[in-house]
Amino acid sequence: MSALGEREGALRAALAAEQDWQVLLRHFDFNEGFAFVLILVESAENGALCREALQDYLRERGRGLLRIIATNTTEDVQSLPYLLHKPKGLEGLPAIWIESVIPEGSVSPEEFQEWRKAWRVCFAGLNRVRNTMQRTIPCALVFVTAPWMQELIRNIAPDFWSIRSTVARISPRLAGREPADLAERVFSGPRSDPSLAPDPEFAEREADKLRGKPGQELALARILQRAGQGFLSRAEQKQAIRVLEEAQQLQVEASAPPVDLASTKTFLGRAFKMDGQWRQAETCFRAALELDRSALGEDHPATANDMNDLAGLLRATNRLAEAEPLYRRALAIGEKSYGPDHPTVATDLNNLAGLLQDTNRLAEAEPLYRRALAIDEKSYGPDHPSVARDLNNLAGLLEATNRLAEAEPLFRRALEIDEKSHGPDHPAAATDLNNLAVLLQATNRLAEAEPLYRRALAIDESSYGPGHPSVAIRLNNLAGLLEATNRLAEAEPLYRRALEIDEKSYGPDHPSVAIRLNNLAGLLQDTNRLAEAEPFYRRALAILDAFTAKTGYSHPNLETVRGNYRRCLEKLGRQRGKGLKGALASLKKILGSEGSSD
């Protein structure tokens, strides 16, 4: 399979994992007759991906082909109300597909305004003829656009908007992407430096000396908290949880000052979060926030830290509307406490911008990233690691808005800064190498990407040791590239190693382990070892199902894994000569009463 084909395959898998995509497919399964469907995507590539994937889905079900209406020019757009007013020949079609994805910043400002104007005219017209369309169009009417269109439609065509059937936000991301560090406000430096973290073993030894001694409970708790911090910095979160829970109990029993208890709860929350125990993490973050709020006041920087932590968790669990006001408040507190041009504010700007990016408000996010960058450049000079972080984030946004040519120099500059600041073999450089490599892979420069992945791997192995979860990420990404370049025999041991590391670090039931199992199973499937692949997929699915049931949140990769497993079983069934019915019977047997909803 060509590299391009591999990329498409990866994107398809990422698409299948999107919850909104699953909702959209179900909409097509359930809906009959007219429905106004809006799909918001960040790039024309994603728009095309949605179209092809939906077409395949419908074809597999014998539902016919999409009727695609071209909107290559503004004139095409403005003529849509006439085309859609009593159109003919739609019997038996599943949908009319209108795709026009013009992300902000992807064309010149003048051209962008022309498109906006054309769409305003179009939707004003559609608003007028919506009743007729509802009567005369016997299928779904699907618009695939950039996110800025939602507000336009709402304002210009309120009647049409009010009859929307569903709105899907689709942004498939390739697996293995490591997001730029959004700088948690814990350590004094802009990035957490492992060499500055407490030594947890030493702390535990010191703690042992105090255990059982009356009157030493709060001191013991403080030392245990240090141990917890140390374990956290090494990503040994289970150890961190163990010691921090003990610290918390001691503090509660000894009526520790609220701010101390809040601090322990904060670290404990981070440990739970790292361990994938989101509900417990949330409980801790909320409690820490309340404690600091009561003790220190609403506008205290510590309270702002708590808001950032809680917002980060809400963001991770896709409660973006709840996270946003917290990020905004934290930013406001930061500005008030430190002034608008303080590096702390730059961190807050990054956090808020990241959320705005998550909610597709890229035009709002970009100035915040740029402001953060300007603050850090002014505060620290152009070659500071905080600047590298900001460059990474901004480049990530540029990449998301398909400005790859603009993103690349920023990734390169971030790498240069981190190499110069920390040395070429620092984990910060490894992050930058990874991000740049992903961009290179996305732009089909696989030969250039490979050495970067290899370097990132070597750095993290050296910095963290061969068994660190960061190493597992690097192994995974390199293996992905090897697979993309058909070096499957080389890729396999890397996937196996990544799996081993994560099993050891996180335990056998961690979602990261599920991803490793899935990826390895994919390679086994590609090398025609279906019988070997099947138990890996099965295990991966079981882990993510359990995670979903336990946390109450659907894991983002759940549907990808489910789909992969199903396809594996289908192929396995055919290979054994049972045919599709037999394969499905096996599927049903293995999955129990779980039928396929695709």
Binding site: F30, N31, A124, N131, P158, D159, S162, G552, Y553
Partner: protein
């Protein structure tokens, strides 16, 4: 337990049953939402006005998008049908372009044309030998300089209506003539109605009266370019010419833009509020309102379906709580729940995912608008700076999109939709603190 194929069939059935089209009278899904509201039944009031007015009446009916206005209008039609009235219905959008300003002469002309068509549809023929369009041709031939193409339009009613609605030159010529001859057109239209009423009474001697429902006039709002002009023209229409909208011998019910109420508080508009779910003073829940909305769900799902999907009332109530008392939003929430459910009965996480999905439909909001909405939420009133058409259009947009809700228990009041209330409050709090800081800095530097 994950969904079975049978579950999916059940969900598909539910999904298809949950459309937002107006319910026909007698539909088992219908729940008497408005009838049990503190303010009483608006359809009952409209019907009573018709009963009490022996000969004719003129009423204005309104409601924001998704308030169930069309369903209520259908209810009114059914009620009046049952009481022996002859009821005719027309969609104003077939006749006028909501993006263009309207004048009284044109409205009367279109009213007559629409009535003519409605009677022809119901009764199967043109009364009095000719439709209104033929009469209009006579008027136009005598009073408007038309070329042969334009004259030819009168032989094809569909093309004529399109030209009146959307055609530029023909429309303007006709409009000019109507403006120059207001009394003539007035007399012509009213004479037309009189002729038709006479004929209808011959055919239906026992009819209690003639009722004409002219729907969708509330769509008049203009485009971004013409908004000011259109809103201004509607203001003029209803303030200066309101008396001319009374048609002798006919009970006419016009649906009008809800923002008319904002501009002209004394205007006699029957407006459908959102279902009251909480009290103005302290937002404590109003049991009746919430109960009605839960009944809507039970009606749509059926008892068995309700239990199968929700398990218990609590999950359904979570959706009711955040729908803002608006039927359309409740249906959106239910549809999203059906699309997102992973197992039955629906787990809490899927309920929350549905709520988040619908909340996203209301966002993003600019800071400026968020602050405006926060002020409305705080004061429980439609706060706006002036009666400028743009301001009216803006608040009208937020009322139509349900960011702002119109409520009534006792007096009329406004509030922000529960899905975004906390969001705008947080934005406002943040901006207030920024403003305080700026003030403090300014004071210390002076």
């Amino acid at each position: 337990m994950p969904l079975t194929p049978e579950d999916n069939q059940f969900l598909k059935g539910l999904f298809q049953y949950l459309h937002e089209k107006p319910l026909e009278p007698g539909d088992p899904r219908y729940v008497p939402l408005y009838e049990s509201q503190p303010d009483g039944d608006p359809v009952g009031r409209l019907a009573r006005e018709i009963h009490y007015s022996e000969s004719d009446s003129r009423q204005f009916f309104s409601g924001f998008r998704g308030s169930g206005k069309s369903t209520q209008l259908l209810r009114l039609k059914k009620k009046l049908d049952e009481e022996g009235y002859r009821v005719y219905y027309a969609d104003a959008l077939e006749y006028l372009n909501p993006a263009l300003p309207i004048e009284i002469g044109q409205l009367l002309m279109l009213l007559a044309g629409a009535f003519s068509d409605a009677v022809q549809r119901e009764e199967g023929f043109s009364l009095a030998g000719e439709s209104y369009w033929t009469r209009l041709k006579n008027f136009a031939s005598a009073n408007v300089e038309l070329d042969s193409v334009e004259l030819g339009l009168f032989s094809d009613v569909a093309k004529l209506k399109l030209a009146i609605r959307d055609g530029d030159s023909f429309r303007q010529k006709l409009q000019k003539a109507l403006t120059l001859r207001p009394y003539e057109i007035d007399a012509q239209v009213k004479r037309f109605f009189e002729d038709y009423v006479k004929k209808l009474r011959e055919i239906h001697p026992g009819a209690a009266g003639i009722v004409f429902l002219f729907d969708n006039l509330e769509q008049l709002r203009g485009s971004l370019a013409s908004e000011r002009e259109v809103i201004g023209s509607v203001q003029t229409l209803f303030s200066t010419h309101i008396e001319r909208l009374a048609i002798p011998y006919v009970h006419v019910v016009y649906t009008v833009p809800p923002w008319l109420k904002l501009l002209m508080s004394a205007a006699p508009v029957e407006i459908l509020p959102s279902i009251t779910q909480w009290k103005k003073e302290d937002r404590s829940p109003v049991g009746k309102g919430n109960g009605c909305l839960r009944e809507v769900i039970e009606g749509r799902f059926g008892q068995e379906g309700f239990v199968r999907f929700f398990g218990d009332d609590a999950r359904a109530d979570e959706l009711v709580k955040v729908c803002g008392g608006n039927l359309r939003d409740l249906i959106q929430l239910l549809r999203q729940a059906i699309l997102r459910v992973g197992s039955l009965p629906i787990p809490e996480q899927d309920i929350q995912a549905s709520i988040r999905a619908v909340r996203n439909h209301f966002l993003p909001l600019s800071t400026k608008d968020a602050l405006w909405l926060a002020e409305i939420a705080e004061k429980r009133d439609a706060v706006y700076e002036d009666s400028d058409p743009e301001t009216i259009a803006r608040i009208s947009l937020y009322l139509d999109s349900h960011h702002v809700l119109f409520l009534r228990n006792g007096d009329d009041w406004y509030d922000v939709h529960p899905l975004i209330r906390e969001y705008v409050a947080e934005i406002a709090a943040g901006e207030a603190k920024k403003a305080e800081k700026r003030e403090a800095e300014k004071a210390s530097s002076e």
